[in-house]
């Protein structure tokens, strides 16, 4: 039983690491701010969920489960809000757009 939970924890740990690393590579490789926001905000939310599941499976106590749910709920609310605010600020400050962008739906008044 212990072995099963260890394997589950290792699996979710590596899943979380995968999403975190995809976000970190995306923030380096993608061409403009909006692409990088897309990479960083979504992948890190999922990656953190995997890591918290791993910690819950490994420790196996109510204490860590409740705290993990608290962190998860906070990150699920806070991360999209922060990314949205940052995207609006980047639009307002006219951060450069990738040259391959096909259309720009932002209102001129927002820019």
């Amino acid at each position: 039983m212990n072995n099963l939970f260890d394997t589950l924890a290792a699996f979710f740990l590596l899943v979380g690491l995968f999403f975190f690393f995809v976000g970190a590579v995306g923030i380096v490789k993608l061409p403009d701010v909006y692409h990088r926001l897309h990479a960083a905000s979504k992948s890190s939310t999922l990656g953190l969920m995997g890591l918290l599941l791993a910690a819950t499976f490994h420790m196996g106590t109510t204490e860590v489960g409740v705290k993990a749910i608290g962190v998860m709920g906070f990150i699920f609310v806070a991360n999209p809000i922060g990314s949205h605010l940052l995207a609006k600020a980047a639009l307002k400050a006219r951060a450069p757009v990738w040259e391959g962008t096909l259309r720009d739906d932002a209102e001129p008044s927002e820019r």
């Binding site: 970190a24 860590v64 922060g82 605010l85 400050a93 006219r94």
Partner: protein
């Protein structure tokens, strides 16, 4: 047998960590002979390998974030990199919880997450409020030359020699 050997090799840095925590525990009045709670962590070889890979991978991810933090052409890029850096710290704290089999650092994850969110919101409000204001110039200022290069400006963007630095220099130069 192989698994035992692997576990022994992977747990090699633990004694140094335990020695460091012992000296702190002495100050806190804990008996020196007592093994710390994480000394006999029931971490199997699979999980030990996974934790080491996760810690190493997230440190690598932090290096990538720092590259964007230093390089980032606009202030928004730097703020985004700092936000992702804070989330990597949260991830490392959670992986450390599994590694030490101890809950002591877990509340730090929530604290760092809240700090990262608040700093992101603060910087976003700053960028939003000072956009286009010449008294608060930051790298988000519109630069048509950057758009043609895929949004990536040159590492050391020099001013074209034809444009004078100041209107007063226009006649002399």
């Amino acid at each position: 047998m192989t698994a035992e050997l692997l576990g022994t090799v992977l747990n090699a840095p633990l004694p140094a960590l335990l020695a460091a925590s012992d000296s702190v525990a002495n100050l806190a009045g804990v008996h020196a002979g007592d093994p710390p709670p994480h000394a006999n962590a029931p971490t199997g070889p699979i999980l030990a390998v996974a934790v080491y890979i996760a810690l190493a991978g997230m440190c690598l991810g932090m290096l990538l974030c720092m590259w964007r933090l230093v390089r980032g052409p606009t202030l928004s890029d730097r703020v985004l990199a700092a936000d992702l850096l804070a989330l990597h710290v949260v991830g490392i704290v959670i992986a450390l919880t599994i590694y030490l089999n101890d809950m002591v650092f877990f509340p730090a994850a929530l604290a760092v997450g809240i700090l990262g969110f608040v700093s992101t919101v603060g910087f976003a409000q700053y960028i939003h409020a000072t956009a286009g204001n010449p008294e608060h110039p930051h790298a988000d200022a519109p630069d048509p030359a950057n758009v043609r290069r895929g949004g990536i400006p040159p590492l050391n963007p020099g001013r074209p020699p034809s444009t004078p630095l100041h209107p007063a220099d226009a006649g002399s130069a």
